[in-house]
């Protein structure tokens, strides 16, 4: 099963890079949804062969929960808030897409380097740590380098996917309840952000986060 895990993790990193390079909001959300649905298969592929019956049910529940929340519910909410807030379809980054893509490549190199120097004792797949860190770092990059509030949500989603991958290393230590709680938190976070974006855009005609620095609208 490890070959498939490697493939999924590489696809997750490649999708991170795609989201950074894409200039359309819709394709960003679609890629984030694809990443979530691909990662949903990660727990069962990673631990399925050595788990007991009860644990397999746990793994399946985590997978189904991730698929439902990250691949269906959150993209649906985000598409709706894009529609309701009447945002323009382009991403509008602070720095150019070429530059942010190069920055993302540097972050990928850093995440591989981190996994080499930290040296976790026995990760099941060599790509788990790099994929996790690249998700976290690229999520931060998207949050700080994009102008729209909705892209902050996308960055947050990628960030959370990175943490999800990292959590897979510690599957035996993290109970199901915690994992599902994290999913619920994520969902509530996206809901709150969606509502906030809707209200901001109703009050001020735009959702430009650089204007949030000033006290008056």
């Amino acid at each position: 099963m490890i070959p498939y895990v490697n493939f999924i993790l590489t696809a997750a990193i490649a999708l991170n890079l795609y989201i950074v390079s894409s200039s359309r909001l819709r394709s960003c959300v679609q890629a984030a949804a694809l990443q979530g649905s691909v990662l949903a298969f990660l727990p069962i592929l990673l631990w399925g062969t050595q788990a007991s019956k009860l644990e397999i049910i746990n793994l399946l529940l985590i997978g189904i929960g991730t698929l439902g929340v990250k691949a269906l519910l959150i993209p649906f909410l985000m598409f709706r808030s894009i529609q309701e807030a009447n945002v323009r379809r382009e991403v509008e980054p602070f720095i150019s897409l070429h530059l942010s893509l190069s920055a993302a490549a540097v972050l990928v190199i850093i995440s591989f380097w981190i996994s080499k120097v930290t040296g976790l004792p026995h990760p099941p797949s060599a790509y788990l740590v790099p994929a996790a860190f690249s998700g976290i770092l690229i999520g931060f990059l998207i949050m700080v380098s994009r102008q729209k509030a909705i892209t902050q949500v996308i960055g947050y989603l990628i960030f959370e996917n990175g943490i999800f991958i990292f959590g897979q290393i510690l599957f035996q230590k993290i109970p199901l309840a915690v994992e599902l709680g994290v999913l619920l938190d994520l969902l509530v976070g996206i809901l709150v952000m969606g509502i906030a974006i809707y209200h901001i855009s109703r009050e001020f005609d735009h959702i430009d986060v650089s204007r949030l620095d000033g006290l008056k609208g």
């Binding site: 490890i2 070959p3 498939y4 490697n6 493939f7 590489t10 696809a11 990193i13 490649a14 890079l17 390079s21 897409l97 070429h98 893509l101 190069s102 993302a104 490549a105 990928v108 190199i109 591989f112 996994s115 080499k116 060599a126 790509y127 790099p130």
Partner: protein, 308 residues
């Protein structure tokens, strides 16, 4: 056996390329529901052009006349060291992979300076585009080849193609998949196919390859046509050697693999060209930088895992 191998290699190298272009055009015609020109149309075109005389601009020097021939010659040399039916070529040597890429660059260079030589503003524009996109494509090409070279330990076709682990090619070693995708992107760029450049367009403002060869006529243009089809054949051949396991000796299987692989690439390009639109000119560097970034990911995997 060796003589037979060299013979078939030369026959395929010299005579096959125009057929590939005809085949792609046929696939595009079929996808559009048309009959399309004959599979051998490019041969007829080349024959017709060779019979014609050439007209030269008064500002053109010998560089303009030498350009098409030197381009064809450097590509034929590149074709000699590229393996075709086997996983290595008779003329291969240590480091031939790098030599191969630079022969390509040499051919491209002569095309560029012969376009600049006539002094036409349109051709100058085309040459500047060709140089810019060629630079990006070469960066991506070299790093994509490096993904395959690192596990093999040497930049030689023979060692790279024998070291590829065929059974675990895609899923266990996603780096190879990234490398092959980037090689496909470079193939489309270097041969001016969609989505980079439309081979059917005849509007100078958006063309890349076609605008560089506007002033070539007669036999010169025949050589240009021939060398661009040869370039496509060689790059398709390079790509399928990374995708398919070729035998180490001359067998029917190797010939069959080669032909089906190249025609498969032809079908892929034909369908791709039927369903995609051309990228905006400003988006092309981003496409190529994206390809390069993908190779960074592949390179990190190759470095990190060492020899898989």
């Amino acid at each position: 056996m060796l003589v037979l191998d060299i013979f078939i290699h030369l026959i395929l190298l010299i005579l096959f390329p125009p057929f590939l272009i005809g085949f792609i055009n046929k696939v595009k015609a079929w996808t559009a529901g048309k009959q399309g020109p004959s599979l051998f149309q490019v041969y007829y075109d080349i024959e017709k052009l060779l019979k014609k005389g050439a007209v030269y601009s008064s500002t053109a020097t010998w560089i303009f006349k030498a350009g098409p021939i030197l381009t064809s010659a450097s590509l034929v040399c590149a074709g000699l060291i590229l393996p075709m039916m086997r996983n290595h070529s008779t003329f291969g040597f240590t480091g031939d992979l790098i030599f191969f890429v630079y022969l390509f660059a040499l051919g491209h260079f002569f095309l560029l300076i012969s376009a600049l030589d006539v002094g036409s503003s349109f051709e100058g524009m085309g040459a500047s585009r060709g140089a810019a996109f060629g630079t990006f494509a070469e960066l991506a090409l070299f790093s994509a080849l490096a993904i395959f070279c690192i596990p093999a330990g040497s930049p030689t076709f023979k060692s790279v193609f024998t070291a590829l682990p065929w059974k675990t090619w895609g899923f266990a070693h996603p780096a190879y998949l990234a490398g092959a995708l980037v090689l496909l992107a470079v193939l489309l760029t270097e041969n001016s196919r969609l989505p980079i450049d439309d081979p059917n367009t005849h509007l100078e403002l958006t063309m890349i390859h076609e605008v560089m060869v506007l002033d070539h006529g007669g036999p010169d243009f025949a050589f240009i046509l021939y060398s661009s089809s040869l370039k496509l054949l060689l790059q398709a051949d390079l790509l399928i050697h990374f995708l398919l396991p070729f035998p180490s000796h001359l067998t029917e299987e190797g010939v069959l693999l080669l032909l089906s692989g190249i025609l498969g690439i032809g079908i892929l390009i034909g369908i791709l060209e039927s369903v995609t639109a051309r990228l905006r000119l400003q988006r092309i560097p981003q496409f190529l930088i994206g390809a390069f970034i993908l190779t960074v990911l592949g390179l990190m995997i190759s470095f990190y895992r060492g020899a898989p």
